[in-house]
Every structure is written in structure tokens, then in C-alpha cells.
């Protein structure tokens, strides 16, 4: 994975400022600001963790909706009896188990087949849950206890810190290097002693765990959940969109993407609910066409262009 043109330390400082800014929102902000911030932070966790695995390994996962949904239902089943951290842990573990099972079977599939499978997985889990509610309990949806906007807010904040720490640790250690190797050439990686299956499944599982935890928190903000709101394809698509827009395989990219799109969605979903998806789709297509390396990539290109111009002025030639 590469760091963008900005110095590592500088990127950490930017992120630290963002996190500290969020931490102070409840002191001054309205309920609206607190809820919006919680949503943004959820997407920071989701996009950063999605990017941690799918970015370097090149396995584009659309299973995020399934993991978030499991988090929703962990909260749905347990929220009346247990505190929030237990719900998060339960949601995370449920997602982790699903990811290990699914990963062991499907991470052998290469390229687009893996993506298609993960896409179907969300629908599959949703169908199972719907069947369970209709046929077994005969009650649609579950009520979730609300721990108050501040509890959800701080839970999300803690998850952002944990997620970004995990992302940094993964990219600095051989775990991240192995994932990058797999993405660059899976055959070469396997033939220099990288246990590709083990690394892929663990990377996928860590991502799933993080998504399960924020899913559990998210559910407590909604009061009522059902299979449609839980296993929502938007949870699968948005992290991808955020990473493409911000810049895949970069540290800042997913964070920038998450802030922009979470804020956009939060505002547009109430004002123009029919067409905001069209806008997102258009942005996605334009991003892929005109800035395949995302906002961070555009910044880098501009910086390089300026540098080249400087070199030309001096008369140097590379």
C-alpha cells in the first residue's frame, strides 16, 4: 500500500484533528449534529476497513451489507438485556464467523466471481432472516433499545479510533504486505511462501468484525429494524463508492470519501429521496472515468505536474 504524497506524520495529524473535532461535537452540537457525526463515523469505519482488505488484496467485496445487518440483529436480539459494548462484540463476532465460513469457501474464487458471490450473500442472509420472521416468530422486525444519541456517538468514536489503529497496524506489518502481494500477483505470492488463503480469510474476517460492531451501534440509533433496513445493499455499495471517490489503497482516501458521502446521503435522503441514488451513481461513474485514483490521486497528480514544471524550468531532464 502506498502513502499519498503527503508525509505520513502529516496524514496522522489531519486524521487526529478530524477525530478530535468529532469528539467535541456533543459538547456544542445539536442532536442533529450528533446523529450526523455518528453516521459519518460509522462510514469512516466501514470504508477504512473495506479498503484495508479489498484495496490491497484486490478482492472487491460487496458483503458489507450482510455484516452490518448481522450487527443490527445482534442488537435486536440482545439490546434489552445487555449493555452496548456486549452488543457490539456480539455483532462483530457473528460477522466474523460468517466471514470465516464464507471466506474459506469463496476466497478461492478469483476476480468478479468473488464480487458476485458476496453481492448475493447479502440477499441470501436477508431472505433467511425474512423467512425466519415470517415462518418462525411471525413478527416482522425487532425493536431495539435506544441508549441515547450520546452513547451511540461515543461508541462510534471509539470504533473509529480502533479501526484507524487497525488499518495503520495492518499496513505497517507483514500482514499488509502479504495482502498487497496477493493483490499484485496471487501466484507469485503463493510461491514465495505466503499462505494466501489464511491471509485472505483473516483480512476479510477482521473487516467483517469491524462492520458488525458498527452495525450493532447503528441499530440502537433506529429504534426498529427489519431485514430490509438491516441487510441493505447501500451498506455494501457505499464503502466501495467512498473508497473509489477518495482513493483506494490510501490512508486518507476512505476517510475523505466517508465524510463527503455520509454527509451528502444524510442531507439528500430526506430532501430528494427519489433521485439521490442517481446522483451517487453519476458521481461513481465520473470518479472512475476521470479520477481512477480518487481525490488523493488527483492531489498527487497535481503535485507531480508542478514538480515536473519546476524541473523543466531548471532545464533538467529525467
Amino acid at each position: 500500500m502506498k502513502w499519498s504524497g503527503l508525509k505520513k506524520e502529516f496524514q496522522y495529524i489531519i486524521v487526529a484533528i478530524i477525530v478530535i473535532f468529532f469528539a467535541f461535537v456533543p459538547l456544542f452540537g445539536s442532536t442533529y449534529a450528533i446523529t450526523l457525526s455518528s453516521t459519518i463515523m460509522m462510514y469512516i469505519v466501514m470504508a477504512s476497513c473495506w479498503n484495508m482488505f479489498s484495496g490491497p488484496a484486490g478482492y472487491i467485496s460487496l458483503a458489507s451489507g450482510a455484516f452490518v445487518g448481522l450487527g443490527f440483529y445482534a442488537s435486536g436480539f440482545l439490546s434489552t438485556r445487555f449493555p452496548l459494548p456486549v452488543l457490539m462484540l456480539a455483532g462483530g463476532l457473528a460477522s466474523l464467523v460468517l466471514a470465516v465460513i464464507i471466506g474459506s469457501i469463496t476466497l478461492r474464487l478469483r476476480g468478479v466471481y468473488f464480487t458476485i458471490f458476496t453481492f448475493c450473500l447479502v440477499e441470501l442472509v436477508k431472505a433467511v432472516m425474512t423467512w425466519y420472521e415470517i415462518m418462525v416468530v411471525r413478527k416482522r422486525g425487532l425493536n431495539v433499545r435506544n441508549f441515547g444519541p450520546n452513547a451511540a456517538f461515543y461508541a462510534m468514536l471509539v470504533m473509529v479510533v480502533i479501526a484507524l489503529a487497525v488499518v495503520v497496524i495492518v499496513r505497517k506489518t507483514r500482514f499488509g504486505m502479504a495482502l498487497t502481494g496477493i493483490g499484485e500477483s496471487e501466484d507469485a505470492a503463493a510461491h514465495i511462501g505466503i499462505n494466501t488463503t489464511a491471509y485472505k480469510v483473516s483480512g476479510f474476517a477482521v473487516t467483517a468484525f469491524m462492520m458488525g460492531t458498527v452495525g450493532a451501534v447503528r441499530a440502537t440509533m433506529l429504534n426498529h429494524i427489519d431485514p430490509t433496513s438491516a441487510f441493505n445493499m447501500m451498506f455494501s455499495f457505499l464503502p466501495v463508492l467512498m473508497c473509489v471517490f477518495g482513493g483506494m489503497n490510501t490512508f486518507l482516501g476512505p476517510i475523505i470519501g466517508a465524510i463527503v458521502f455520509a454527509a451528502l446521503q444524510y442531507n439528500l435522503i430526506t430532501k430528494i429521496p427519489q433521485i439521490y441514488m442517481i446522483i451517487f451513481g453519476a458521481i461513481m461513474i465520473l470518479s472512475i472515468l476521470f479520477m481512477p485514483t480518487g481525490i488523493v490521486g488527483v492531489y498527487e497528480r497535481v503535485r507531480k505536474a508542478i514538480e515536473n514544471r519546476k524541473i523543466q524550468k531548471v532545464g533538467g531532464h529525467l
Binding site: 502506498k2 502479504a178 498487497t180 500477483s185 507469485a188 505470492a189 510461491h191 514465495i192 505466503i194
Partner: protein, 240 residues
Amino acid sequence: MMSMLEATGVSKSFGGLKAVLNVDLSVNKGEIFGLIGPNGAGKSTFFNMISGAIPIDSGTVIFDGIKISGMKPDRICRLGLGRSFQAAKNFAGMPVWQNVLMGALFGQKGQSYAQAMSAVDEVLDFVGLNDLRDKMVPDIPLAYQKRLEMARSLATRPKLLMLDEIMAGLNPSEVGEAMELITKTRDSGITIIMIEHVMKAIMNICDRIAVLHHGAKIAEGTPEEIAASKTVIEVYLGES
């Protein structure tokens, strides 16, 4: 003599096509062993089965006293079997030195980062890629990309190195360099099996040669024996 690789009755079919048919092969420790044959003879398929890239249909492979047929490539690699690919497979998004570092880090268990980095310097020096160490893979000539693959495999500290057409597309002086490098590698204690079409190289540096044709082994012997063999001249050399 001690045997490094012992393949018995190795076969592979793709659908109706029998790519490799009941091949026996024994390679001794410290040997440079050549594997030749016309295009489509099954040489690369044979390599792929030995290294674990594709599953073996039938037969067994013993490497340095351990049965490796059925194992996954990463385990086979850590046992000490390295390989290069016919079409160079490098980590294109990394500079040359990091490609080698990957081999050094993951090739053996318990390698510290510092150990791996010193292995990188050593290997880059050995194969003569030190001048290109900071270049990205797509920016270096193809001849060097193949050598980089060899370097990455060497960094895993193999006992046996399998080289798949490492000299393809090289000019005569580069072929000379590659021959020197391969001999030097063998002299450092690494057994070598190489697939090659460059006859000059094969005949000069190999201790023994096996010839594959339509998936079957049709001859085996010293370079002199192979050059004199009627069957080989008919099916192989006669074609060109």
C-alpha cells in the same frame, strides 16, 4: 548420489488432453537439470504440478525426502523449493528491492525485518540487480524482470530452484550472463531444474537433460547423449 527431487508416475490431463503422462524424473543434489521439448510438450505443466500451482492427477513427488504432492505452494516453498514463471509474475506495484524483500520475509518462518533486509542486499548483489533496486518493476527491461523473479525465489533460501525459460528473449551476451548466474547459483549449493529453448545454454551448463514430447518423457541423459539420440533429433530437433 543423493536425490533432491523424485517424481514418480506424474500425470495431468485437462479435459481430454493428456498434458503430462506418467513422467518419472529424478534430480540429484547439486545438479543442473535441463527439461526440454517442443512447445506444448507439458514442461510448464510439469513445473506447475511440482510447485503445487495446480493439483496433480496421479503420481507422487518426493522433495528432499518429504512427499510434497498434494501440498499447497506456500508450504512447498517454505520446504525449500523455489520457482520462476514462464511469463514473469512480479509484484508490479513495488520497487525491485521490495519484490525481493517479500521473498525474504515470507520464504522462511521467523524472519525478522532486519534479517530480510540484509538478505535483500545479498541477493540483489548476487544476481546483479543492485543498480535497479529502486526502480518499479514495469520500468525495468524484460530480461531483468525474469532475473528479478529468480532473485525473489533465491531470497526464500531454496534448496532447489526451478527456472521456466529464464533466457527467453535475451540477446547472446545476456544469455551468457544468465548462464554464468545459473552456474554460480548451483555452485552456491542450490540444485537447479531449468526449462529452456536456448540450446546453447542447455547443452553447455546442464549435467543431465530430459526431453518431454506430447506429455511423455522420451529421453534422458547427458547433453552428449541427448544430442546424439536419434529419437530426440527426430521429434524435437528435427521439427525446427
